[in-house]
């Protein structure tokens, strides 16, 4: 039993709690440093293995979906705190172990960004890998999309049992030929493909392609207003209602379903689980503040912003607010705002304000799309508060926020929330 690493980690968690802090990263780091082999040993004892979820967009929601589905049958270890690092994963393992060192779990699902996923698989080769998509994200950090795709190729090659890939992502689909383990596919029907322009197709037509033959699951239909979703599981066509918002999350649900079936869940179990998943914070989750609905959508790269905009406008908001920061986690480079088209926002005809460190950059982008925001204020909370006040009572404010802006607003919104909607 690896009791000592667990005790060490638990003591670190305890010490942090006394200091009034939380988070998985520091205890995870301590255990990683002192007991470098704990991680692989603990994971290798999970009877149903490990699923690693990576890609540019949708990791958090997809991981939450997989964990929810698996929890119907198994004890699930997951890193749902947003600290998607190896140490976050170690922290999660420690917290879910008894003081005697026994890990209280049957299966693990971890969300890891591209770079951390590579570090993870160097320490432990997971049974299953799910890759969602690869698009422009933090190019100031990774340099190029082709490089990001090469990171994901390393992750896929480490899988020992299965790899699940997005059939509609050209760069990911190309990985299939290099893999030794069985490849499983999730796909979009041709009408659904129209909703997902690639970065290259932004100023161009969306080219649809035939749906991959033998795909494990195909997203046939999604209705943004009702959440009604149709997924074809290799001929077994199911209708379900998703609580998560946006076509991109219907695609994530399809991906999560295929990955979860790799550890033995049936189509029935998968569909029942998917219907229970609530939106994660900043992924379409709503607050009730001062008699208004305030919905938050994370925007962190062009594809994600396009999808969030689609999902956010489908909620028919009375007003919108876009908050953009430029810390490392947001991306220092603002060029990406020009890879999103805001015509739909202009056509919605609703008032828009901007905030965050780069409020003015966002305001300029909107100005050149014909959306007049007036002045731009580089603040978070006061900008959102003003937008809430300016929203008609009983109406809806939709907030689009970059990563650190979203977390910067978390406590502020949570504190004002008026209970269950």
């Amino acid at each position: 039993m690896p009791a000592l690493p667990v005790i060490t980690g638990k003591l670190a968690f305890g010490a942090l709690r006394i200091m009034g802090r939380s988070g998985n990263a520091l205890p995870g780091l301590i255990v990683e440093r002192v007991f470098p082999r704990y991680f692989a040993k603990a994971l290798s004892r999970l009877p149903h293995g490990v699923i690693v979820v990576s890609g540019t967009n949708g990791k958090t929601t997809t991981t939450k979906m997989i964990a929810t589905m698996l929890a119907k049958k198994h004890r699930v270890v997951t890193n749902d705190t947003g600290s998607n690092f190896v140490r976050g994963a170690i922290g999660a393992l420690v917290q879910q172990s008894s003081w005697g060192g026994r890990l209280d779990g049957d299966v693990a699902v971890f969300e890891l960004d591209e770079a951390h996923a590579v570090k993870f698989v160097e320490k432990y080769a997971p049974q299953h890998v799910l890759l969602l998509n690869v698009s422009r994200d933090q190019l100031d950090r990774f340099g190029e999309i082709d490089y990001t795709a090469s990171l994901l190729a390393k992750v896929a090659k480490a899988a020992t049992a299965s790899v699940t890939l997005n059939s509609d992502d050209e760069r990911l689909a190309a990985l299939a030929g290099e893999l030794q383990v069985p490849v499983h596919w999730f796909a979009l029907s041709e009408p659904m493909q129209q909703l997902f322009p690639t970065d290259e197709e932004l100023y161009d037509e969306v080219e649809t392609q035939p749906v991959r033959e033998g795909a494990d699951a195909v997203l046939q239909q999604y209705d943004a207003a009702s959440g009604h979703t149709v997924i074809d599981f290799a001929g077994d066509v199911r209708q379900l209602t998703l609580r998560t918002t946006g076509a991109h999350n219907a695609q994530n649900a399809t991906a999560a379903a295929v990955a979860t079936m790799r550890v033995g869940l049936s189509v029935d179990e998968v569909c029942a689980g998917l219907e229970e998943v609530e939106p994660a914070f900043g992924r379409g989750q709503s607050y009730r503040i001062a008699g208004r609905d305030v919905t938050m959508h994370l925007v962190k790269n062009p594809a994600g912003f396009r999808q969030s905009l689609q999902a956010g406008l489908a909620e028919s908001p009375d007003r919108a607010c876009i908050i953009i920061n430029d810390a490392d986690a947001d991306g220092r480079d603002m060029s990406w705002l020009w890879d999103v088209q805001f015509d739909a926002l202009r056509e919605a005809g609703i008032p828009v304000t901007t905030g965050g460190v780069r409020a003015a950059d966002m305001a300029v982008r909107l100005k050149y799309s014909g959306v007049d925001v007036g002045s731009a204020v580089s603040e978070l909370e006061s900008v959102v508060d003003a937008a809430v006040q300016a929203t008609p009572a009983g109406g809806r404010l939709t907030v689009f926020a970059s990563y650190t802006a979203m977390w910067g607003l978390y406590r502020h919104l949570d504190a004002q929330h008026e209970g269950a909607l």
């Binding site: 340099g143 190029e144 480079d333 060029s335 460190v357 780069r358 305001a363 300029v364």
Partner: protein, 237 residues
């Protein structure tokens, strides 16, 4: 009233950092003044219209640049005579490199450029990356550089702007970008023209100058200048 014609080179392949925004900015700044323009997308193999006023090109993935490079070189003679004729060109990053004499990759392969600008670029292992604001004749230019090619200027061009060392064309000689006649090359993404409104209007002014001439009414650039001021103060990386 003169309608400007703007050719946009390889919009699909060469728009990695929102460089298409430069086209959006020019079109809007004309529209706000009641002026008109026609944008022509030029892809691989497409004919480059002869009577264009402005040519725009952006940055691309290194891999895409190979295919684009071959197509680009077939246009060398056309692009050179257009430059001699005073056509306004703005080439960002990859397109800037391809307008030059040649690009030598790290492995020593030589990719010929269009020879419009007297510059040579050498592939390197280091990447110059970060927020970047430089002073030019046309005011402060504000954007974001991200390139591993290091560019040296020949006698046939002058620098677009001067910069701190560790940035710009090659990180060493404190130059950023290159100019000859009405041809401008630079590493500044951002997109450059979004936060450099004075320079954007300079491009339009030069384009009209070749035609009948057109007075450009001033616009309210308060937001653009605010965005530029914020960006110029942000940490480089």
């Amino acid at each position: 009233m003169t309608t400007l014609r703007i050719a946009h080179l390889y919009p699909r392949e060469m728009n990695i950092y929102g460089d298409t925004g430069n086209l959006v900015v020019l079109l809007k700044r004309l529209e706000w003044r009641g002026l008109t323009a026609e944008a022509v997308a030029v892809g691989v193999g497409d004919t480059l219209p002869a009577d264009v006023d402005i040519v725009l090109g952006g940055g691309g993935q290194d891999a895409a640049q190979g295919d684009i490079g071959e197509d680009f070189v077939t246009r060398s003679a056309d692009l050179r005579s257009m430059a001699d004729d005073g056509v306004v060109m703005l080439a960002i990053c990859g397109a800037y490199q391809l307008l030059g004499r040649e690009f030598r990759t790290q492995t020593g392969r030589v990719i010929r450029g269009a020879g419009v600008l007297d510059i040579e670029t050498q592939g390197s292992a280091t990447r110059l990356i970060g927020n970047h604001a430089v002073d030019s004749e046309w005011g402060q230019l504000v954007g974001y550089e991200n390139h591993s090619g290091l560019t040296r200027l020949g006698d046939g061009v002058r620098a677009l702007a001067t910069t701190a060392s560790g940035r710009g064309n090659n990180g060493e000689d404190s130059t950023e970008g290159a100019v000859r006649d009405n041809v401008f090359g630079t590493y500044l993404h951002g997109p450059l023209l979004a936060k450099s409104p004075v320079f954007a209007d300079e491009l339009l002014r030069r384009a009209f100058e070749r035609r009948a001439g057109q007075v450009l009414e001033p616009l309210d650039d308060a937001l653009e200048l605010q965005a530029a001021a914020v960006a110029a103060k942000r940490p480089r990386t």
